[in-house]
Amino acid sequence: MSDRPDSEVDAPPTQEEIARAEELRAALDDPRRSDESAELARALTAAWSPSDLAPERHRAIFNRALSLADARRHRARASTASIGAGAILALAAGVCIVVWAARGPSVPPARGAPSPVAFSRSTQELFAERFSPRGGETSRIDRIALARGADLRANEFAKWGVR
């Protein structure tokens, strides 16, 4: 039980309390009015003496549930159908790719066979001599750029089949 003393329970109300009490009284008399305390009062009433559901309201709720269940079922069917169609399309696309790849001219080289194109690799082979401690960076970069430019052109010619 609350340990609130009687003096506090019977204390004179403040103006704000009087205003809130009036709001609550109005909300208790009119269920359409919104008030936090009145909502709790309605919850108490709902637990203490719950009201019946009118038959026509019950029928409406049942019919709404039937409609909702039907709508969900149709959506689920449509979704399943679109997923199935998508799966068939994806399968067909996969088959096309496999067939095209099997017939196509560009078969990847077998492991160990000489590659028709040059791949990225270390630049160490371009520099047989030792680097000087200072300077020479620009000339080394130029040498790399020339060599890789030649690789690029050779690769392009290889791709076009003109090498």
């Binding site: 039980m1 609350s2 329970v9 009490a21 909502e39 709902a46 003496s49 019946d52 559901l53 049942f62």
Partner: protein
Amino acid sequence: MLVCRKVDLALAPAVMLAFVSEPPDRDDALEHERQLVLRAQAGDRDAMGRLLAHHGPALYRSVLLPRLGSEAAAQDALSEVYTRVIERLDQFRWQGGGFWPWLRTVALRIALDHLRAGRRIVLWEVDDLARELDTAQTLPETDLRLNELRERQAARTRVEAALARIHPRYAQAIRLRVLEEQPREAVARALGVTPATLDVVVHRAMQALRKVLSAPSKVLSDV
């Protein structure tokens, strides 16, 4: 035959339970209900409608409305329960206890979702409902009236437990003005105050109740 006889719910809970006995035609009623369930599972909408028309009002009155605390919320929840039942009735397996325990479990799950989503103060907390759900499947085999009376008794005990935690004068004001819905002037006379003072007392009483119900532990779990 499925018949829900009117029982005087104003009687004290213990007396109410003592007066209720198993109807002699209970086995017939269960068999009839089982046939309805089978037909509904086969897609018979008339059977589905009859099943829900039989149990739905009690479900609303004794399970959803007390726990959710508002007619609008309880009706929304009932609609969701029906939708779920229509969609998932094929998962229901008849176990001799009738359709009610399964339907009540579905309703408790929906009510739990509503409580989790809502911010209103009601008598049931999320944890309370979760505990109820844990034991929902062990509901004893009983008839609809007895189930409803048990639910009603539990709800009233919960209200009394909440009122016991506030000042007796506040509890008296709520009992007379809110629960018994007595006229303002009559309650004011009963409490020996003016109607204007009664309004303040009721306001303070509701504030005190809100405070105890908002506390982390409402100590109503055993109710």
